[in-house]
């Protein structure tokens, strides 16, 4: 159902957006020396109480009553467990939610990473009112992309302006070549 790791990231971030988050941090660490792929997605959305947080990992639970959705978190947890990794969700009502997940990088069932550049572009441009920070780290390099910083430079020019989209596409292409 979820073809790649970036699909999971997009899906978890969609939960953050539905929870009204204005700040979303996505960290991705890909370490060959430590044989690990780890993700952390944290937001300042409305969060959940303990009971709800325990339920969202259950595939038969959704806050959206009457809809058979809400599978995203159990799917991600399932992938992590299949791939010899771990999954933790911590949430505080009124504060936000943080999901940390890891996978063994050489596990044969690990889905491909997917199109990371497109993912960053799509999320940043189609949610102009949200501050996104992306931290990408490998053994050799790291890259930081922050829409608050970008919007400061743009000084009123919308992030979805055609020229800005073109620029960001090329910028991500060039700076994420190492992934």
């Amino acid at each position: 159902m979820m073809d790649d790791i970036c699909a999971h990231i997009t899906d978890i971030v969609a939960n953050s957006l539905s929870a009204g988050a204005k700040n979303v941090l996505v960290s991705i660490e890909l370490s060959k020396t430590r044989n690990i792929l780890s993700l952390k997605i944290s937001d300042n959305g409305k969060g959940m109480d303990k009971e709800t947080a325990a339920k969202v990992v259950d595939p038969f639970y959704s806050t959206k009553t009457g809809r058979k959705v809400g599978l995203g978190i159990p799917l991600l947890k399932g992938t992590a467990e299949t791939c010899g990794g771990s999954f933790t969700l911590s949430s505080n009502a009124g504060v936000g939610t943080e999901i940390e997940v890891s996978f063994l990088l050489d596990h044969p069932d690990l889905p491909p990473l997917g199109k990371l550049k497109d993912t960053i572009l799509i999320l940043s441009v189609s949610n102009p009112e949200v501050n996104f920070s992306f931290k990408i780290k490998t053994d050799e390099r790291d890259f930081f992309f922050d829409t608050e910083e970008i919007n400061k430079i743009l000084d009123g020019l919308p992030i979805h302006d055609p020229e800005v989209i073109k620029f960001l596409t090329n910028y991500l292409d060039e700076n994420l070549e190492f992934i």
């Binding site: 699909a7 959705v69 993912t119 430079i153 000084d155 979805h160």
Partner: protein, 118 residues
């Protein structure tokens, strides 16, 4: 390539910025819930952004939304245009998205065969 280079774009745009800051003429909303993503909504959204960039559509913006409860029609997009009824398209892929931009957004003729009832 540095982020600082964005300043040039900002400066170039400064003359027309007041115009651009006005609300976009068209808002395209892409369903990016779990089922939308699984059905290919990311590819659709990326195609829409590419089309906006190459056709220089300064008055169109794309946003994302969650599940609509119509999983069988995903990927779905909605077109909001000032003074017009909302148009909902279903089962969209990259090629169909390109056609919607060309025919609906640029030439103001909705692509009736992709429209779904809601």
């Amino acid at each position: 390539m540095k982020l600082e280079d964005l300043k040039k774009i900002r400066e170039k745009a400064s003359k027309e910025i007041e115009l651009r800051q006005k609300q976009a003429r068209v808002k395209i909303v892409v369903g990016m819930g779990t089922s939308g993503i699984a059905a290919g909504a990311r590819e659709v959204l990326k195609t829409l952004l590419d089309e906006i960039a190459t056709r220089n559509l300064t008055d169109v913006m794309v946003t994302q939304t969650g599940e609509k409860g119509l999983a069988s029609h995903e990927p779905m997009i909605e077109i909001y245009e000032e003074g017009k009824e909302v148009v909902v398209y279903g089962n969209i892929d990259a090629e169909k998205a390109k056609r919607i931009i060309a025919e609906h957004i640029v030439n103001h003729k909705p692509v009736s065969e992709y429209v779904i009832e809601v």
